[in-house]
């Protein structure tokens, strides 16, 4: 796997025989990539990709070790507790917890019943955005956690860059056809941050038009990606997550993976400047490969009112089975915060500064992506 150290752009060829699903998934994309290159655009892309390994191997990415050990241990009891609540409250039977002795079981059954009682009588609180903290912590996170821990085996780095209190804007890259990266980032912050912070994501308007999805999104604390909502959340001292690439990043073809798209119009920078909160760049590696999008059925997309309709090697050919994401190995790295307190209040109206800061954030995320890609041994491990 020596050549896997290069950006996985050209290495599909070498890994073509690596194994079942992966190989099959990547073969068609190579053809597409080659086509691009012939069109001329690919040459430039290759040019700015290749020199990076040298730069990245400089070795300033040492502070990785904060990996699993300590944080995992601190997380374990909570996970167990939540699991118990879910088991007794939501259905699958509390027998599963019987191994822990009668005392613990009794306690968990009691707390599960108390939870059930509150839910059935409507005696719980949601905030102005519809965020249901109790439901998120006790049920929805417990549902996402297996995907996070077992399926994508997310490794989190640099969680200490997120402040323990006060507002902050986390800016991340967006990919993967379905916005699973946002959800995983939310679990990453929730489970790893020592101050138990909750990430409030900004989502596209499509999310709030779809039935069921909008209900869950609101309960998970997401809200519409607009300046008003972002400013309000930051003022309340919340941790806000935004993916400025939007659908351009989410629905980009597999050949363009790990190439950041335009960062909207930089509205997130002016919002952070107005609220005087730090911007934390966040790079997510692994989400790009979960659904290798090799085509886009534009007609179907237009009919359904979606921005794109992905065609992957398995979807829609295998039906619902094809919608299962590939089990890639993920890394989420939170970068050094970019502080905005030093700028004067009127800086938010300075377009030049806004463009510069937007570029700075974008560059930092892109560089971290390249670094992480070089460190990655393989897509799946």
């Amino acid at each position: 796997m020596a050549d896997a150290k290069v950006i996985p752009f050209d290495d599909d060829r070498s890994r073509g025989g690596a194994g079942g699903a992966g190989g099959a998934a990547q073969r068609p994309s190579r053809r597409r990539g080659a086509g691009n290159r012939r069109n001329g655009a690919g040459g430039a892309a290759m040019g700015d990709v290749q020199p990076l390994p040298g730069r990245a191997s400089g070795g300033d990415d040492a502070p990785v070790p904060r990996a699993s050990g300590a944080s995992r241990e601190s997380r374990e009891p909570r996970a167990g507790h939540d699991g118990g609540d879910l088991a007794s409250g939501a259905a699958p039977g509390a027998e599963s917890g019987s191994g822990h002795g009668a005392g613990g079981l009794e306690q968990r059954v009691a707390s599960g019943l108390a939870f059930l009682r509150r839910r059935l009588t409507g005696d719980y609180a949601v905030d102005d955005f519809g965020y249901d903290e109790e439901l998120t912590d006790q049920v929805l996170m417990s549902l996402l956690r297996p995907v996070y821990e077992k399926y994508f085996r997310v490794e989190v780095k640099g969680v200490e860059n997120i402040p323990s209190e006060g507002g902050a804007l986390i800016v991340a890259n967006h990919s993967g056809t379905l916005p699973l990266d946002g959800l995983m980032m939310q679990v990453a912050v929730h489970d790893n941050h020592p101050a138990d912070r909750h990430l409030r994501l900004l989502a596209a308007d499509l999310v709030f038009m779809l039935p069921v999805v909008n209900e869950l999104a609101r309960k998970l604390g997401h809200t519409l990606a607009c300046a008003e909502d972002a400013a309000r959340l930051l003022e309340q001292g919340e941790l806000v997550g935004v993916m400025p690439e939007g659908f351009k990043g989410l629905g980009k073809p597999f050949a363009d993976r790990y190439k950041l798209q335009r960062f909207g119009r930089g509205g997130f920078v002016s919002t952070a400047l107005r609220a005087r909160t730090p911007i934390i760049p966040c790079s997510i590696v692994g989400a790009e490969e979960i659904y290798p999008m090799i085509g886009n059925a534009r007609t179907v997309a237009r009919l359904l009112g979606f921005p794109y309709f992905p065609l992957t090697p398995t979807f829609p050919w295998l039906g619902p089975l094809g919608a299962v994401p590939l089990p890639t190995k993920w890394t989420i790295q939170f970068g050094e915060p970019i502080h905005t307190e030093s700028y004067p209040p009127e800086a938010a109206d300075d377009p030049m500064l806004m463009f510069n800061l937007t570029d700075q954030v974008r560059e930092q995320i892109q560089h971290t992506l390249y670094k992480l890609l070089v460190q990655r041994r393989s897509v799946f491990f």
Binding site: V109, L120, D128, G130, K219
Partner: protein, 356 residues
């Protein structure tokens, strides 16, 4: 010299309560109540003039009374007594407001105008920000019904404020008014034995208590207190938010989730049959919900609602009969399960059954 207050829409419970309340204020000399129909409730000694505000006679009433404060409460979404139709209601809301404003414009005595509006003017759409402030432009203007009336009424009031800059104009945008005597479409909805909801949506709702409505109307009708300003447009709502699912659980009324097209169709059917004004905005409110910011109300107007949204709803629930699934019974059932002895490993069973 005391104040003379002219109040429209006094035949409704809210107008009647407001008239009775301001009678007791020492500054107020005389209250003149106006409505097209004679109120069923007493007005506590206020003068009642039976006139339709759509008629030019309102100008004479205003001139004769010499009122310095006009409180316009006759902007409502429900027909009085269920008699008149939607078109008649729109006439009263819009044409009545135009006549009243015309009369105010000619009156030299009027110094203050208070208009009851509604947060319906913001509409309700998935592309709207989660919290509306007074300056948020609505993404989708209401297409009809009471919300459109309110938008038009506010437009005429703004025009009046431009033409008579010497009159202090206060527009109060109330969230859904609830309370023991509420007669809004939402109160009618919550009185249904089974609540139809839109499948896959759980709207956020905000309520304001009737008592708070009366208090804020009084605050807006008098001279502003120190360091506050009571002219302008203000959102009025209780603190906090309730989801529709929470409301149904607290009411103890089960919900029936229906697909959005089915709800729209059923709504138009009910409307055609004249059973209730289950309007398209009502459906939109129960789909996407609406939350407004009350910062201006607290900071500029200097008003703090006594009831939060949840307390308002509790008070409303108390005034209605118990539903099919009273929360107390459910809580009792869970408590009984919790009180069961835990016979070893078999203890996991009861919660399982109750959850199903």
């Amino acid at each position: 010299m005391g104040k003379v207050v002219l109040v429209t829409g006094v035949a409704r419970p809210l107008g009647g309560r407001f008239v009775r309340r301001i009678q007791r204020d020492p500054d107020v000399d005389r209250v003149v109540g106006v409505d097209a129909v004679r109120p069923a409730h007493h007005l506590g000694g206020a003068d009642f003039v039976q006139t339709d505000i759509q008629q030019p006679t309102i100008a004479r009433v205003l001139a004769e009374s010499g009122a310095d404060t006009v409180v316009h409460l006759d902007v409502t979404g429900t027909p009085l007594g269920g008699g008149s139709s939607r078109t008649a209601l729109k006439e009263t809301n819009v044409i009545g407001t135009m006549q009243l404003l015309g009369a105010c414009q000619k009156s030299p005595t009027v110094k203050r105008l208070v208009v009851k509006s509604s947060t319906n003017v913001y509409g309700s759409a998935p592309r709207d920000p989660a919290v509306f402030t007074e300056t948020t432009p609505p993404k989708s203007l209401p297409s009809g019904g009471f919300a459109k009336d309110a938008v038009e009424v506010e437009g005429y009031v703004r025009g009046f404020a431009r033409r008579r800059p010497d009159v202090a104009v206060c527009v109060l945008r109330f969230a859904n008014i609830l309370g023991p005597a509420a007669d809004s479409p939402l109160a009618a909805y919550f009185s249904l034995p089974v609540l139809p909801t839109v499948l896959g949506y759980d709207p956020r709702l905000q309520f304001v208590h009737e008592d708070d409505v009366i208090d804020v109307l009084r605050l807006a009708s008098y001279e502003p207190r120190r360091s506050t300003l009571n002219s302008g447009t203000f959102n009025i709502a209780g603190d906090g938010v309730l989801l529709l699912s929470q409301c149904s659980r607290r009411l103890g009324r089960p919900t029936v989730p229906l697909l959005l097209p089915a709800v729209t169709w059923a709504g138009s059917l009910v409307r055609t049959l004249g059973m209730s004004d289950f309007s398209p905005e009502q459906v939109r409110l129960l789909t996407h919900g609406r939350v407004v910011s009350t910062d201006q109300m607290r900071e500029t107007l200097g008003f703090t609602a006594k009831y939060t949204t949840a307390e308002t709803f509790t008070d409303f629930v108390r005034s209605r009969g118990p539903g099919l699934l009273p929360p107390k019974a459910l809580a009792g059932a869970v408590d009984r399960i919790a009180a069961l002895p835990l016979p070893g490993t078999g203890s996991g069973h009861p919660p399982k059954q109750s959850a199903n």
